[in-house]
């Protein structure tokens, strides 16, 4: 019976689930999550890959005018890709907040400082890319400054994905939540860095394909920008980048698998990952043939390569989800049990509320105002004192106003108004009965 819970040997928190139904069938939410995430991450890849390449070309451009121009051309694509990356990020965020609110928000709360730092960091990185783009001509005579700007943007863009990765990783392991003290301790979980390099290689591979397409378009006025470099030169370099990054994935990928805790593994995951990797192989072969073949044929296999690698991406994205679903399933089961029990207890308490018996401490020496004094002590004394202002006016002042008008005092207590500047309005004490107010008035007006 308890076998499925063996993976949860460490002390693991079991919070309760959000007590509202899902807005859509779960499978549809999962589909939206995986699909919209892949769309988002491709533009993130292009934004990061583009920035890295811009920096690299700008440095090479110090000596080679064509590379300087290439840097400018690539940098013009970043500002568009980055806008799409941000807006396309909303849908997966919305979907993960619906399916995995408990896990995702727990992780982001535990790394909250760095999580909210995403906002200023990304804003600054974006502004730097605009600065680089719009000061291109002005800084023509001061290229090191221009390079410094894009280098700063690159560093930020390389750091920011780590924040996201730390959280999507941490959310998988509730058993670790008790051990985490801030972002950097979550960063040290063993599988974060391999996943990060996996992501960086993917960025370079995707950007390579994008550059290949962007500079290969017939409508692109290539000769306007470049003197020495040919379309073939750039396309060959772009393809080589994709190929090299894909080869690297065959080393980093297994490393990611080795460092992931085993709790999310099952056969379908292994099959999905292997199938995805297998489909990448023909794409890599076509790229190899294209860069070693005749220059005029370089674009021959392009759309086949894109199609094959897209399928790889879809498989890897699905595998990523299968791992998450498998890893969290046993914990989600505990959460369901816990939540049901809590709802039961809450319902029971709601139906049988404990009578709050208010025991009045009577001071018999006060005679017939003893009850009023006790009620005052319990309900009024935090704001009113005998002869000095506390929150409200002193009792002596009440006596001076209502000395011959106990009904006026009772009416005021029943429905307090606001008279004085500098005093907050008195609360309506709904817990008092008419009898309580009689006793109170009697006591208050007995004060001398």
């Amino acid at each position: 019976m308890f076998n499925i819970f063996n993976v949860l040997l460490q002390i693991t928190p079991v919070p309760r689930n959000i007590p509202l139904p899902l807005p859509l069938p779960e499978w549809l939410l999962v589909f939206l999550l995986v699909f919209s995430f892949l769309l988002h991450i491709i533009f993130v890849n292009l934004m990061i890959g583009g920035t890295v390449l811009t920096l690299w070309c700008q440095i090479k451009g110090l000596k080679d005018k064509d590379y300087h121009n290439l840097a400018h051309e690539i940098s013009r694509t970043i500002t568009v890709n980055k806008s799409l990356a941000v807006v396309l990020g909303i849908a997966p965020l919305l979907s993960i907040s619906t399916l995995y609110a408990l896990y995702f928000y727990s992780a982001t709360s535990l790394t909250g400082g760095m999580w909210i730092a995403i906002i200023p960091l990304v804003t600054v990185a974006f502004l730097l890319t605009y600065l680089n783009k719009y000061t291109w001509k002005v800084l023509d005579s001061n290229k090191p400054l221009s390079i410094a700007i894009i280098a700063a943007a690159t560093l930020l863009f390389l750091f920011i994905p780590l924040i996201f990765l730390v959280n999507v990783n941490l959310m998988l392991f509730p058993e670790k939540w008790g051990l985490i003290k801030g972002f950097f301790s979550a960063l040290l979980l063993p599988n974060v860095l391999p996943r990060y390099f996996h992501f960086l290689c993917a960025s370079m591979a995707v950007t390579g394909l994008f550059i290949f397409w962007y500079f290969g378009r017939k409508s692109y006025p290539f000769e306007e920008y470049f003197e020495r470099l040919t379309r073939y030169d750039i396309q060959k370099k772009a393809y080589s980048l994709t190929l090299a990054a894909s080869v690297a994935q065959f080393i980093i990928g297994p490393l990611v698998m080795l460092t992931l805790p085993t709790k999310g593994f099952n056969w379908s995951l292994i099959l999905i990952i292997l199938a995805g990797a297998a489909i990448a192989l023909p794409a890599m072969w076509w790229i190899w043939k294209s860069i070693t073949g005749a220059p005029e044929d370089i674009a021959k296999h392009f759309w086949k390569v894109v199609a094959a690698l897209s399928i790889t991406v879809i498989f890897m994205g699905s595998g990523r989800h299968v791992y998450r679903a498998t890893a969290l399933a046993p914990h989600q089961k505990l959460v369901e049990i816990q939540s049901a029990e809590f709802e039961r207890l809450s319902k029971e308490a709601r139906e049988h509320p404990t009578e709050e018996k208010v025991e009045l401490k009577l001071d018999t020496s006060l005679g017939n105002v003893a009850k009023g004094a006790a009620i005052f002590q319990q309900n009024c004394s935090s704001c009113h004192k005998k002869d000095e202002k506390l929150v409200g006016p002193p009792m002596t002042e009440m006596v001076s106003i209502y000395k011959n008008n106990p009904d006026g005092l009772k009416a005021w207590i029943k429905k307090p108004g606001k008279k004085r500047e500098g005093y907050p309005q008195m609360p309506t004490l709904t817990q008092l009965t008419d009898d309580d107010r009689n006793e109170l008035a009697k006591y208050i007006l007995s004060i001398k």
Binding site: I11, P13, V14, V86, P427, Q431
Partner: protein
């Protein structure tokens, strides 16, 4: 209760959200919703006023393009990121409420997202095709038509979001309807839109006005024209914005109106509430003055003169946002969840058993004499820390010292009695959720805070301690108990049957 408690102990969690949200509204209203029609109108004037052998007045067009560039850069960086930032900040400060809202508003937000993606793509196209469209009259006119189209789109985005906001502000409706359509039909929707639409135009106009004084040179004809056009724009929208503000203010539900004075700030601000009215009138008047001045005397307008009305206009919008955000109290979701993130319907349980027992993360599930202050700290984190800090903005020590006198040593029992009853009078405060033992522990902790000046670092720095009563071991135990109970009752039925 179910999430680690992120906490900013000086800045105040709520202030973090407010800061990001207000910045976003400034940019969204002032540099997108209102700004695009303002810019498109100017672009169109460039065409209509140019000589017949020209496509557009190129000098004028270059100025308008520069102004749009400012809007474009700010909206696609700070504007976009503060939009995401509202979500990220709410999700760490108030995860229980946002994840509940998402389950009900999924479609609203999904639609909002689709509209938003389209809007961003349209802005990119509008700005990036500007210079190319100057090549023929046909493409320029198409570009201008595109600008009007984009204006309508931005407005729709706002109209959808306002529906969500009005839904959340309408008390009681959450429990009865749980549906989005209610957002459009509830009484606060149209008035809010009536306020936001002209105010966005107004703020955008004043900001554009400011930019014209930056991008044109003194004593030139182009400045005279640009200033005059901005003045006309501002003069048209200012009265509508004022009218919208009045309509909006009037329909706020009575319960929220009662809280309005505290909405503007903390308690000590209550007496300054009157100044809000004067601020609204003052802001609109300064805008009107600079509008009239620019209309009749465009040559004499200088940057510095426009700067002040511009700041006032943004301030005007900002105050309304702050009020809107704060009048929800004591709820974060009207009638369903208090601003301490606890569900209204769970209160009887918490009052009976205490909140500590059910909190996933806390070091003192059971209060003893020795852990009293630590338990009080945990109660504070769970019940108070969404709105109060220990020593920073809206600090708990500060609010009690305001009542009892600065520096006077606190009396634990007074604090406990007050806290138990405060929701009756301070209607913006949720009722204290826990039992009397927890109340006493909280009072002891508050006194301890006054004595020692201690602070709380928040789960993002100090991590969490897992409540053993809410761990996997406890659930396994619970399952065993449930099984045993089931087996017992089965045995009973069997033995009863055999008898």
């Amino acid at each position: 209760m179910n999430f680690p408690m992120f906490h900013l102990d000086w800045l105040n969690d709520r202030f973090l959200i407010a800061m990001i949200a207000i910045l976003h509204v400034f940019i969204n209203h002032g540099l997108a919703v209102g700004f695009i029609p303002y810019i498109t109108r100017l672009e169109q004037q460039g065409v209509s006023r140019s000589a017949s052998n020209q496509i557009t007045d190129l000098e004028w067009d270059a100025m308008v393009h520069k102004m749009m560039k400012v809007g474009f850069i700010i909206t696609t960086t700070l504007g976009a990121m503060t939009g995401v930032g509202i979500w990220l900040s709410v999700s760490i400060v108030s995860p229980a409420s946002i994840s509940s809202l998402i389950r009900v508003f999924y479609w609203a937000w999904f639609t909002e997202w689709l509209v938003f993606v389209t809007e961003v793509v349209l802005i990119l196209i509008y700005f990036l095709t500007w210079k190319n469209s100057n090549k023929t009259l046909k493409s320029k006119l198409l570009h201008i038509r595109f600008g009007w189209f984009l204006s309508i789109f931005s407005w729709i985005t706002m109209a959808i979001i306002v529906s969500i906001l009005s839904f959340m502000m309408d008390p009681g409706n959450w429990n009865t309807h749980h549906s989005l359509l209610n957002g459009y039909t509830n009484p606060i929707y149209l008035p809010q839109l009536c306020f936001r639409t002209p105010t966005a135009m107004l703020v955008a106009g004043v900001f554009g006005y400011l930019l014209t004084t930056i991008f044109t040179k003194k004593n030139t004809l182009i400045r005279e024209r640009a200033v005059k056009q901005s003045a006309i724009w501002v003069l048209c929208w200012a009265p509508l914005s004022l009218a919208g503000a009045i309509v909006y203010y009037r329909v706020l539900p009575q319960a929220m109106l009662d809280n309005l004075s505290t909405a503007v700030g903390t308690l000590q601000f209550a007496q300054y509430y009157e100044t809000l009215k004067y601020f609204i009138i003052g802001a609109i008047s300064t805008v009107l003055v600079i509008g009239l001045f620019g209309y009749f005397n465009p040559k004499k307008v200088r940057l510095g003169m426009v700067l002040i009305p511009c700041l006032f206009a943004f301030g005007f919008l900002g105050i309304f946002e702050r009020v809107r955000e704060f009048i929800r109290k004591p709820y974060v979701i009207a009638g369903y969840m208090y601003s301490n993130l606890l569900r209204v319907e769970d209160y009887p349980l918490y009052k009976r058993d205490g909140i500590l027992k059910y909190a996933t993360y806390n070091s003192t599930p059971v209060i003893t004499e020795t852990n009293k202050v630590e338990a009080g700290r945990n109660v504070f984190i769970l019940a108070c820390s969404r709105c109060h800090t220990t020593q920073g903005i809206n600090s708990i020590v500060g609010v009690f010292e305001n009542m009892y006198g600065a520096g006077k040593p606190f009396d634990e029992s007074s604090i406990a009695v007050f806290t138990k009853n405060m929701h009756n009078g301070r209607t913006f405060m949720p009722e204290f959720p826990g039992n009397d033992k927890e109340l006493a522990a909280l009072a002891a902790y508050i006194k301890h805070l006054q004595q020692t000046g201690d602070v709380i670092e928040g789960a993002q720095n100090e991590g969490v301690t897992i409540n053993p009563l809410q761990s996997s071991d406890a659930v396994v135990q619970l399952m065993a108990d449930q099984e045993k109970a089931a087996a017992d009752s089965a045995a009973k039925t069997n033995s009863a049957a055999s008898k």
